[in-house]
Amino acid sequence: MSEIVQSEPFVMNIGPQHPSTHGVFRVKATVDGERVVDAEMVLGYLHRSMEKLAEERTYTQNIPFTDRTDYLSSMSNNLGYCLAVEKLAGIEVPPRGQAIRVIMAELQRLASHCMGAGAFANDTGAWQTPIMWFMREREKILDIFEMTSGARLTCNYMRIGGVAFDLPDDFEEHVRALIGPLRETIADGEGLLSGNEIFLARARNVAVIPQELAVNASLSGPMLRGSGVAWDIRKADPYCGYEQYDFDIPIGYQGDAYDRFIVRLEEMRQSLRIVEQALEALPGGPHSTEVPLALRPPAGEAYARIESPRGELGYYLVSDEGPSPYRFHIRPPSLINLSVLKEMTVGGSIADAIVALGSIDIVVGEIDR
């Protein structure tokens, strides 16, 4: 329509209240007709200054904070934080605890990608159908979380030195019952969207991020892999015994929104493989080591990162031998993946900008913290 509409550029707010910003996120898009000529993001609507709050609480008390950063993948956030504290304090986790952590982290990845892939489909205009299919499976995963930790969304399940409780008796049975239908749902979603002409027209060659830019802009997770960079911290820097499991890294072809979508779907399949293997080889023994409640790690600093569903989730902790961290920094993958928003949106139409935003799969709780 830009051929017809040649009006002056004007500012259009996408957000903070907009169906496609996945929370209270705002893009001040300057548009000329339908074409976006500038995009500036406005953050902070959900800022709670967790990094400051965490400096006043003990290491264990900080775990619930991490639930509330990326509220769609609380298990992964717990895990990243606990790994950082364990690295700082030199705590070993027993094998069963590690296996439980892997299962939980992968289930969380499945749940989060269900949401991410479905919401992306919604952004391209596939009106609610794919997201509802994926939500159905996500509910089952959340049921398992509830069964295990007592909470569905903010699980607060990981502890420094292991996990909070051992698995319930019928856990394995429930997870096994989940895997088959979830595989089918992934195949359904793929069948509905991946080869669909309209979906291809909307997502292919949209918001392309070349490899060099992807690396240079510190992207991570499916954003980086979609651009064809084989980088997965589970493979590159295995934690919690990921080296025992057999899985592949899916990578995209040219770094467009479509590649990121299919990478997410394939990651779900790989996660299912990991969950199956981890269930097979679930070791016995204690699920956690005893850690003093008022943990005082030795002075120093530690940076631990995991592959969260959205990318490289890092926790940088500085200790001064006190009971609470001297500095508590979260490396939020959603925020840093947003750093290429302008490159992705400028020059395209508004509809493309929405698709680009959806393909980042942002969680505003994590961006603003």
């Binding site: 496609s20 009106w127 911290i233 990578i251």
Partner: protein, 420 residues
């Protein structure tokens, strides 16, 4: 046409008997003009009670939500009344109670007037639709062009709604709907012109009569016209995959962003009304109207017609529940580059065939020959034109590549590392 339908007033296979009996009764006791006034009222009430209202409430609102709910692995409305059947009523009551907000900077008069402008043509549209052999409310000789003319009016109402809201999303929606309707009106009118050329009449009962006489529906004689009509009309009606004027994920609700309460309810209800009217029009023109190869002798024809309309409407629901949405430049390009040439080609083909029909002495059986020509010709035309425009069905990978080890960059063009 041999017909089993009798003229008794109780023969519900043809409801026009009943209205005729009523009118004759009135004519005996009342002055001449009164029958003129009562006749449209009877037709209007009958059309609404039998078709429009039940369709709108129980197919448009309830059925659409139930069917889409089924497609989306959820239940849909199931609380109010048996099977949730009273949900539309509850929704209407809720909308009536809601406050209809008007923004301070809006053009208040126009914002109030837009829903009214939007509703009026929807009522007019059903006037020319033949529900049965003698059940047409207004047998306008140029019924087809009447339908085109009236169905162009709601676009203006939508534009007024979008402009008067004084909201950028609304304005975007308004501009989009106007651009879309201008683009898609052209192929739409062209394919309807094909129908007129072929059937030699512009009256809708005449077109149905043509299909009854030739024992073949126009969808088989002109498949290309049907496809173009379906795409164009779904674009005009803002149905997914072409609902860019109220694209939820992009411009919130398009021209309806600032509307609430019953003002929004009118737009929502009449959107369904227009979709039903388009479905009724399509079943009249392409699906044989009330005819069903003799079945109309036994089953009330109006029931057949309603069934066809709802079948067509179901296709709307189906696409809505399945397909993603196109971008506006893709949609406009599709209209001008793809649908318009195909419509022109179809017009050319159909005109030639009509000429041949007039010249030859093959009689009525020629329509089957034409069908045998047109179905492959349409497919070939679509394929060739797509190839001409440079569209090649390429094998696009639906699965990403898989690598075993992290680290390093995998080149973009790497045929060896296919993940299939």
């Amino acid at each position: 046409m041999p017909t089993l339908v009798t003229d008794h007033w109780y023969d519900f296979r043809d409801l026009s008997n009943l209205s005729r009996v009523i009118l004759e009764g009135i004519d005996k006791v009342a002055p001449y003009e009164l029958a003129y006034i009562v006749a449209p009222i009877i037709g209007f009430v009958a059309a609404f009670v039998i078709f429009v209202l039940p369709s709108q409430l129980f197919v448009g609102v309830y059925g659409e939500r139930r069917i889409i709910g089924r497609m989306q692995a959820r239940k849909g409305p199931n609380r109010v009344g048996p099977f949730g059947l009273l949900q539309p009523v509850a929704d209407a009551l809720k909308l009536l109670q809601k406050e209809a907000l008007t923004p301070t900077a809006a053009d208040k008069t126009l914002m109030w007037a837009a829903p009214v402008f939007f509703v009026a043509p929807a009522v007019l549209l059903f006037a020319v639709i033949p529900f049965g052999p003698r059940m047409v409310f207004a047998d306008v000789p140029a019924g087809l062009i009447f339908f085109i003319a009236v169905s162009g009016l709601p676009v203006l109402a939508a534009f007024i709604a979008g402009w008067s809201s004084n909201n950028k999303y609304s304005l975007f929606g308004a501009m989009r709907i106007v651009a879309m309707s201008i683009s898609y009106e052209v192929p739409l009118v062209l394919v309807l012109l094909c129908v007129v050329v072929f059937t030699n009449t512009m009256s809708l009962p005449g077109i149905v009569e043509f299909q009854v006489d030739s024992n073949l529906w126009l969808i088989f004689m002109q498949p290309l016209a049907f496809v173009v009509y379906f795409i164009a009309v779904s674009a005009e009606l803002n149905r997914t995959p072409t609902d860019i004027a109220e694209a939820e994920s992009e411009i919130v609700a398009g021209y309806l962003t600032e509307y609430s309460g019953m003002k929004w309810g009118l737009f929502y209800g009449m959107d369904i009304g227009y979709a039903l009217a388009a479905a009724a029009f399509a079943s009249t023109i392409f699906l044989g109207g009330w005819s069903m190869w003799g079945l109309e002798q036994w089953v009330p024809p109006w029931l057949l017609f309603i069934a066809k309309t709802h079948l067509f409407y179901f296709v709307f629901i189906w696409t809505r529940g399945t397909l993603p949405r196109l971008r506006i430049d893709q949609l406009m390009g599709f209209a001008w580059k793809f649908l318009l040439p195909l419509a022109v080609f179809n017009l050319f083909l159909v005109s030639l065939e009509r000429l041949w029909w007039n010249e030859s002495d093959l009689g009525g059986g020629i329509v089957f020959i034409i069908m045998a020509i047109n179905i492959p010709a349409s497919a070939i035309a679509v394929y060739l034109w797509a190839r001409f425009l440079g569209y090649k069905p390429e094998r696009i990978p639906t699965r990403p590549r898989l690598v075993r080890e992290a680290g390093g960059y995998v080149p973009v063009e790497d045929p060896a590392a296919g993940g299939q």
